[in-house]
Symmetry: C2
DNA sequence: ATTGATAGTACGGTTACCTTACTATCTGCG
DNA sequence: CGCAGATAGTAAGGTAACCGTACTATCAAT
């Protein structure tokens, strides 16, 4: 018995803790995404900006709506929007029907970035599927979703 | 054709982006781990403290060694150690052979926390295995590791 | 017209890191 | 031996990504 696994109650055995595994997976994926975005000329986009790109409506959304959908506070989201505005990815206009509210809308460039990000993430996943197995990646997705749902309930 | 998937080039389709999936999986796992630790009386342990618990040697380790293993800077790790010291989980003693260096060692309580954390993570994983399938969780682990290795190379 | 809710902003705080000095100590060489 | 250069750790200050608690502007409803 040199290095055989699976004695009896041996479960995980893979030594590396789950949170570290998830964190590293997230990190390598995001690193690649942002590297590619930069490569394609979408400068100044950072991790936190995803909260806007992921949840904004085509016709624009209110700050409060984006905050709720992303689970961030209004302030946190406000800062993100300000940065994206500075970089020309979104614009803030006062809602004509409600002068308290502002509508945040993707600019042409912002839409391009959104499309590019979705495409790049798709490419990353497809490359994984090619190298590690299409079914295995699909399964990983499903199991991750189930795990999240399970722990949240 | 109501809601059937798998037309042609349809790959991920699961709408939720991979980084979000990984992040949520990490978050729910860590939330549960720290909740349980607290429940068992291990107070004041935070996410970042894992860098010490995961990488420290039984005979104690130097700050520099822990920093290297965890990928953090010496300063970042120094702060973490200071906090763990305040909470009584580790102690810092000057290395008798090299007075520049200090040896960081788990206290009795620190070792208990380390053991508890490992046990709890094992329990979490076992529960997933019971509810979602033992093989599926094992596969998820493997695929995650492969994905990480793949993107890092 | 005032009162209470709502949209967004301002200000300050926290966590988890980082970089750039700096001090103390050790090691090797002339 | 004595000093140069490396190494261990600390100090100071900065940044990113958040948070909560005010506060202002506006709206809606009596």
């Amino acid at each position: 018995m040199t290095t055989r696994a699976g004695r009896q109650g041996d479960e995980g055995v893979s030594q590396i803790p789950l949170p570290a595994l998830f964190t590293q997976a997230k990190d390598v994926t995001l690193a690649k995404l942002h590297w590619r975005l930069n490569e394609e000329g979408f400068k100044g986009i950072r991790y936190s900006h995803g909260a806007v790109f992921r949840f904004i409506d085509a016709e624009g959304s209110r700050l409060t709506a984006l905050a709720e959908r992303s689970g961030l506070s209004k302030q946190a989201l406000g800062e993100v929007v300000t940065e994206l505005e500075r970089h020309g990815y979104v614009e803030r206009t006062t809602d004509p029907d409600d002068h308290r509210a502002k509508v945040i809308r993707l600019t042409e460039r912002g839409t391009q970035a959104q499309v590019a990000a979705a495409r790049i993430l798709g490419e990353i996943e497809r490359r994984w599927a090619q190298h590690l197995g299409r079914d295995r990646i699909a399964e990983m997705r499903m199991v991750l979703e189930e795990v999240i749902r399970f722990e949240k309930s």
